[in-house]
Amino acid sequence: MSYQIPKFRHPDLPVNELGYTRADYEGSISTLCAGCGHDSISGAIVRACHELSIEPHKIAKLSGIGCSSKAPTYFLGKSHGFNSVHGRMPSVVTGAAMANRDLLYLGVSGDGDTASIGMGQFAHVARRNLNMVYIVMNNGCYGLTKGQDSATADEGSVSKKGDANIYSAIDLCGTALQMGATFIARSFSGDKAQLVPLIKAAISHRGFALIDVVSPCVTFNNNPGSTKSYEFVRDHAEATGTVDFVPMQKEITTEYEAGFSHEVTMHDGSSVHLYKMEEDLNPFDRTSALIAMEKHRVAGDILTGLIYMDKDSRDLHDVMETSRRPLNTLGAEDLCPGNQMLKNINASLR
């Protein structure tokens, strides 16, 4: 039921450094509901990858099961994709990343996929600081199975079915921080201006980068009383500050307004600029990030933007000291010790 997008290229569509138009980063036509937040996030991913001039085939996109997990079909049609099983995307990405450290791993998941069935794998992939971008399309409900509350639904939030949720919500950013994640951001599907640079920064980060994106489910959880509706999020989002992403090659051209400003150079040479930061938050300090999150939790608003980044992050391959050559490129000559070695081993076993 999915259709490849017809590929007539408008002659004056903007191309990136690789000569690709944005259409080269798109996927099949979405089969999600009209207005679903997930589609906006797909759009932001397309834009970020296009603008960063990443070769599409050097990206691997992986997901679990859910409306959100379907999204990878709807972007990056030239990348290999893997729609695995419910809640287990992190392990599949971990294996994939072990096999080939040179690709960009883009994991997409839902709040059900991550915070419920996937909680264990989510916690552990964060803890291992796997080099990946992990995007949660967070609608506080199980869209694909028709709107049950998920574990990120706020206590008291009312979904379309009409009952107020009786459990406290799991905060995925807080959880990731606890687990040792090294890049943590939150955003809103309706705020592309914030989301696109965050995705770019996450891509440039070496290590586990979580972006928890509130993404309203228009069909089951966009009603009054829901704390994951477009309206509620627009009213309650509080940005930590503005993030700007400057690719390695580019000069900084924009003139920023005055304000507290940071510049971070990423592993790949690009840089991230933060300005107009929230007073109390130093996103390079874990304790500060923790306190800021807690403060906003207590206040009942939604802290968005870059929350935490460990500038000295060492990813899983770094700490494991794996070969710089991707393991999947090694052949028998690199891997097989040959018969003489076996003879020695045999001798030691007599």
Partner: protein
Amino acid sequence: MKKLESVNDFVIKFANVNGTGSASANNMFAKALFRMGLPVSPKNIFPSNIQGLPTWYEVRVSEAGYLGRRGGIDIALSVNPQSMAQDISEVEPGGYFIYDNTKPLDLRLVRNDVNIIGIPLTRICNEEYKDPRQRQLFKNVIYVGALAALLDMDFKVLTDLVADQFKGKEKLILPNIHALELGHQYARNNVDCPLGIRVQAADAVGDKILLDGNTALGLGAVYGGATVAAWYPITPSTSVVDAFEKYARRVRIDPGTGRKNYAIVQAEDELSAIGMVIGASWNGARAFTATSGPGVSLMSEFLGLAYFAEIPTVLFDVQRAGPSTGMPTRTQQSDILSTAYASHGDTKQVLLFPSTPKECFDFGAQAFDLAERLQTPIILMTDLDLGMNDNMSPPLEWEDGREYDRGKVMTAEQLEAGVEFGRYTDVDGDAICYRTYPATHPSKGAFFTRGTSRDEKAVYTEKGEEYEENMLRLMRKWDTIKEYVPGPEVVSAAQKTDIAVLYFGTSEESSREALDYLAKEGVHMDAMRVRAFPFNHEVKSFIEEHEQVFVIEQNRDAQLRTLLMAEFELGPDKLKSVLCFDGTPISARNIKKQINLHLDGGEIQPLHRSRVANAGGE
């Protein structure tokens, strides 16, 4: 009193307490006999805890080369008061019971039909050593020294072994030899040596080696080119990855950079472990995991994904006694059905059944070729008995220059040249399709892998016909698989016969021995060892050619027989079960008894050790 007499053919059982260092002494004993040219088959019987409970070590010595459990104990050496009552009761009439007589034997335990020999181990230790740790450790070495005298072992072999064992820690050599001598002297001076049962040097092991199956598997994975191992600890599979790591550290560190040409991830659980294997394999690395029953159950959902999305997946199942947590340190072959039919929906999984460490090594390496060629999970079914015990085995071999079969992978060149790519298109008629690794080509060959239905080009579909075509292709692939997996091995009887046995894995050695016993009684039987599921036509013809086939298994539910019945249409009364499922390896005597009973028209329902075999004194 009757004394069992034999040269180079007996069963000895050591009774110890775990965590006291007895394992290495017992090991030294077995290895010494092996170096004297005698086939040995030691089996550890240990509790599911870390310290302080009874543990046993049973060694079969057989110049004739029988390596399975025989049944019955000829010599018991007991240094554990906790288990002494049981230990002495197990000795065959005329056999020998050796114990630490520092404290006198409880009179109620004395048996008149057993030769009781005391060695005052504790006293000797206490007199010789002050340090309690030394007392404990050397006690074990002392009884090995005593056994050397009692059995007439070559003392030089023992001292050489000590020297080998403590290479690098040379100052431990002399004290150990001294302890051996203490025991040796005591026995020579106080006991009538040798016993009726004794050994003499022989030439019956050739170039064989002593190795546990798990180490062999780990080595197989190294040689098979595995670069990613993901696992979660579980007895009795843990040592597979330990061995992989040990050898990978030795041979897979890039000498230039010091970096690793392998990655081992201890996952948070088995679901994650198999997910990592699937992810790595999807991305073109050779990857594996090792686990046991509970882990296999947890992997069941992912195994269905790998089957349906056709992702090479290598899984080593080192079986233990189930169901549930069961008896985690006991052996069984009881995951056959749950692996063959693992996962919901119409799935069937490929199983391999090695029976020796060499075959663990061979199949362990071959599993990667098969997985990539057949693009499906390959589940190698071994068990605690093979995996954790030293088994005598032909030496390991690797044909230099052998290439890995990476299966059907479409390359950038082919794509560039315009070869058409459809991930699930059966272009060759063998129902196996081409895949691409991620990042192969900038604009061609990308596809979406999923556990949902899709068409030949891997595009999502809900069309019944497309789904069905794919499922039928997978059924055809099942036939292709039969041509690739290792075929059965047949051993024909000396005389033409219409009865036969069929066995697999660790039942081989005991079965072979039982058949020899039966042949001596004039009962001749052909034998087939099945080495893989799906079964091929040879298995079918073999069964059809015989009037009655005894299927020997180490589980309660006759699981392999169930598979045979389900796959082939056989007449009634064709397959009889010979079973052992009490957690110990099946013994030759047990097999023989069950077959005899069947042939005498005994009950058809599964027989078991306690009712049948125990009655005969096993």
